[in-house]
């Protein structure tokens, strides 16, 4: 499949079109020194032209890979386009990836060029340089701290652009001719999957992949060129890349780069995005903040919030879906909108959100409904790096918490007998880079991609994802055990930050829990409980009671579910340390690596089933500066009440 004839089929061509047709329209903003600085499409074009010339002069050739490492900065976005203009392939990295994890990718893709944000990233590259001899050029955006570096490979982004500007002047028309050489079937970008096991795999995506699926999606949602989008998620994540790069280029809206990771809330309120994308984790963190702030609010506000949120849960989502709602409730909701929902949307920076999406992992139903009941049109979609995200999207009016919607235009889906979902779609990746074996494993001869997700179609034709196919297990008595489902239910409580459920092949289900140190800390403070840090707080008896209460509420809820009532959690431990990507316990996109955790904390898992009351553990932790240390702790194994399956009320 190819992009419609006559329309630009690569991102650089799209840039040229925008610059020609609407050169003065804002394309990208960045908050710098406290002020939003705007760059128009023609400015972006000029910058990309100079940058591409600079890169070409430095030796970046067609088909070569270039690393892009850092937070959302306009200059890094321009680097993507400039590299693509030359026919080179950008490879974005997670900015918090430790240097060790970068080595493999640099070697695998034989990367010789890198554009990095700052000293931190440059340091990492110089650390791995002896092992990555191909790496020859490192350009940095922010000069801070780099003044006295003498490495010959290092130069500033400014110097790169300046050298390119001269060269471009002498070679007019070069950019256009280079851009014209690329076509839709060429590789646009390579993204490495975070990989829960083994080395990461480089997913090769073509322009056709990204542009076709972005275009289909833009049509479905009626995206306009005046949408405001906040660029705040890691560039190496496909979600960010599609929403803030591919769709940006296809639709021509505006992206806004946040000032720093800590200012997201403020920046979001200032920009008021109309089109918003957030993984469940971000939405969860926002809700936790709201909950904490409400607990600190005055009695009147608290009561008002509780009252109207109850109403919203009952009718809010129905109103959004234009389902019939009683006139009295409508009036009541409108009043609530004035007093609670409106101000709350404003505080969240979501006043102008027209369409919001969540993806990346399953979202807790309660969390999902919370946003929808406020009148925010939050929807789910389904996809992965390999499919350029867009596989299933929930259309307006057909939004449900437990499904991801029907397949999009051009997507074919089948469910295998094993429960695994396989699909074919225009966005489907070409191959894993230099890994034919993995490609063959994922993509069979007929082009069906094996997603590794387990699920089925419901009566309405919506796809429902239960869990990763390999994670879905059975308890010893044969009843279904979907760990993710339990974990999500636990994580909906603001006090639970992370949960890992166990139970496959066992007589009963159990869980390991990470408390949310901010929420629980606040809770403890208000009760006058003093604590020294995470480990201490997690061991406090009142905190154990608090968490026990959460677990038992989940159990009570599960008791009502005919399929899953067997997976009520009989025991739990509160972990002595927070699960961390640096320790390999979470992936870079912060999903729990259940298998790894099960092995690493085997003593705890055994204790959960051994009928003991206490267990001693020692764990290695890696600090942010790379040093390691040992944490030793004694944990309590706590029982939780389970419930008999209740007769379902008629």
């Amino acid at each position: 499949m190819t992009v419609q004839a006559g329309t630009p089929d690569t991102f650089p061509k799209l840039l040229l079109t925008h610059a020609r047709e609407r050169g003065d329209a804002p394309a990208i903003r960045e908050k710098d020194l406290g002020i939003w600085q705007t760059f128009t499409w023609s400015q972006v074009r000029a910058e990309v032209e100079a940058l591409a010339a600079g890169l070409s002069k430095a030796g970046l050739r067609r088909g070569a890979h270039i690393a892009v490492i850092g937070a959302n900065r306009p200059r890094l976005y321009w680097t993507l386009t400039a590299a693509q203009a030359l026919g080179a392939i950008p490879v974005p990295f997670y900015e918090d990836a430790p240097s060790e994890e970068m080595v493999y990718v640099f070697q695998n893709a034989e990367i010789a060029f890198a554009v990095v944000e700052d000293q931190e990233q440059a340091d990492k590259l110089f650390e791995i340089m002896p092992r990555c001899p191909a790496l020859k050029h490192v350009w940095y955006d922010d000069p801070r701290g780099l003044k006295h570096y003498t490495q010959p490979e290092l130069a500033s982004y400014e110097s790169l652009v300046a050298s390119g500007r001269e060269w471009a002047r002498a070679n007019a028309g070069l950019l256009e001719s280079e851009i014209a050489k690329s076509h839709g079937a060429n590789t646009a970008i390579m993204l490495y999957t975070s990989g829960t096991t083994g080395n990461p795999k480089g997913v090769v995506l073509t322009y056709d992949n990204l542009i076709m699926s972005s275009r289909a999606y833009a049509e479905l949602e009626g995206l306009r060129d005046d949408e405001e989008v906040l660029a705040y998620l890691p560039m190496a994540w496909i979600g960010q890349n599609v929403f803030s790069y591919a769709q940006w280029m296809v639709v021509g809206f505006r992206i806004n780069c946040i000032e720093s990771g800590e200012t997201v809330m403020t920046d979001m309120r200032e920009i008021g995005p109309t089109y918003y994308f957030a993984p469940p984790r971000v939405l969860e963190a926002l809700l936790t903040q709201v909950t904490i702030r409400m607990e600190d609010a005055s009695w009147v506000k608290r009561r008002m919030f509780q009252h109207f949120m109850e109403l919203a849960r009952r009718v809010g989502a129905n109103l959004l879906d234009r389902r019939p709602v009683a006139a009295l409730d409508r009036a009541h909701y409108a009043f609530g909108n004035l007093l609670v929902y409106g101000p709350l949307r404003n505080a969240l920076g979501m006043t102008r959100v027209r369409v919001a999406y969540t993806a990346g992992e399953a979202i807790g139903p309660d969390l999902f409904v919370f946003y929808r009941s406020l009148g925010i049109n939050l929807k789910q979609l389904y996809g992965s790096t390999e499919t350029s995200v867009m596989v299933c999207v929930q259309p307006n009016g057909e939004v449900r918490a437990d499904t991801v919607g029907p397949p999009m235009k051009g997507v074919e889906i089948r469910v295998l007998d094993s429960g695994e979902i396989v699909l074919r779609c225009p966005g489907l990746f070409r191959a894993y880079y230099k890994n034919d074996e993995a490609t063959r494993e994922a993509k069979d001869a007929e082009g069906w991609y094996h997603t590794g997700d387990a699920g089925y179609f419901d009566a309405g034709g919506h796809l429902k994802i239960i869990d990763r196919a390999k994670d879905v297990g059975k308890l010893a008595d044969g009843t279904l055990f979907a760990p993710k489902y339990l974990e999500n239910k636990l994580k909906f409580f603001p006090y639970v930050k992370e949960a890992v459920a166990f139970g496959h092949g066992r007589a009963e289900a159990t869980a390991m829990i990470n408390i949310d140190v901010q929420a629980v800390g606040d809770w403890a403070e208000r009760r006058g409980i003093a604590y020294a840090g995470y480990t201490d707080l997690a061991a406090k008896p009142p905190v154990v009671e608090l968490i026990r209460d959460c677990v038992e509420k989940v159990n009570a809820d599960l008791a009502n579910d005919p399929k899953l009532s067997g997976s009520q959690m009989h025991r739990f431990v509160i972990l002595h340390k927070e699960l961390d990507a640096d320790d390999g316990e979470l992936t870079r996109t912060r999903k729990v690596r259940r298998g790894f955790i099960g092995e690493k904390y085997a003593t705890i898992v055994d204790a959960l089933y051994a009928g003991v009351e206490r267990v001693v553990v020692e764990a290695q932790v890696r600090f942010e500066d790379g040093r390691t240390g040992a944490v030793r702790a004694e944990l309590g194994v706590h029982p939780a009440k389970t419930y008999a399956r209740q007769a379902v009320a008629a």
């Binding site: 020194l33 406290g34 002020i35 801070r144 003044k147 720093s260 200012t263 500066d625």
Partner: protein
């Protein structure tokens, strides 16, 4: 360690220059209490100079003498070629000496940005009426001040609390804001009074990084008092050690560490 060699671990290219500040034979007493007795030392341009000593050794008094809050009974202070019997605080500030305080000196009810702007007080030239109306030169000037403050906010990585009242910030951040306020005056010499007191390890690392960066990026000469030996030894080019108001050692961190007088003062000595 040679003075002109860069600090271990840092790839600094700064060159340590001439003596900018010299304290000679300073004695300070409050009634019968002798805070400082005949203390002499000097500070060279662009260096990080630490003053250490056990509690009550006279470290803070020494800083207060340097920026003119205390008047010593004896001795003289030479700053940039001018010798004084005592410094005048206002004059010291105008001539480029800024400081932070052990017990923070911030306006708790004002935002971070406003507090840092307050640090530029001495540089505001236009008259109060123009400032109130925000017209003409006052406006240009305000933009300039704001730019400078934003650069400091960016430098210290406190963008997320720019508009937050200082009183609501955790202690570690307040310390950073205090440093920002001092930096806003664009000082040539920065006096830091226990910049890391009461901080956890991570906050200390951050603060150390900022101090080194200030020294490196702006070439600011830094005189700091600190309790944490590890921090002092890592940060400073030269260290002066006080005990009971007297100087007992002066030199590079390695020299000071090896000095018997210092070991005795810190670990005690059998009489």
């Amino acid at each position: 360690m040679n003075l002109n060699e860069p600090r271990a671990g840092a790839t600094s290219g700064r060159t340590i220059g001439e003596v900018v500040l010299a304290v000679e034979g300073v004695s300070l007493a409050f009634g019968g209490v002798k805070a400082l007795t005949d203390v002499s030392f000097d500070v060279r341009e662009h260096e990080v100079r630490a003053i250490i000593g056990p509690n009550g050794a006279g470290k803070s008094s020494m800083l207060n003498v340097i920026n003119g809050v205390y008047r010593p009974q004896q001795g003289k202070i030479t700053y940039r070629g001018k010798t004084h019997a005592h410094m005048d605080p206002h004059d010291a500030a105008i001539r480029g000496i800024a400081r932070t305080f052990q017990s923070l000196a911030l306006f708790k009810g004002m935002s971070v940005l406003e507090n840092i702007l307050a640090g530029r007080n001495l540089m505001m030239k236009s008259n109060i009426f123009l400032q109130a109306l925000r017209v003409g030169p006052a406006l240009t000037e305000e933009i300039e001040h704001r730019t400078r403050c934003e650069e400091i906010i960016d430098f210290l990585e406190i963008q997320h609390v720019r508009k937050t009242p200082v009183g609501r910030l955790p202690y570690g951040l307040q310390k950073r804001v205090d440093l920002g306020r001092a930096l806003a005056a664009e000082p040539k010499v920065l006096l830091l009074d226990e910049p890391m007191a009461g901080m956890n390890v991570e906050e200390k690392q951050d603060m150390s990084r900022f101090i080194l960066d200030v020294n490196d990026e702006f070439g600011t000469t830094i005189v700091l008092i600190e309790h944490d030996m590890g921090v002092v030894m890592d940060l400073s080019d030269r260290v002066v050690v006080l005990d009971y108001g007297r100087k007992i050692a002066d030199g590079t961190p390695d020299e000071v560490r090896a000095s018997q007088a210092v070991i005795d003062a810190y670990l005690g000595v059998k009489h």
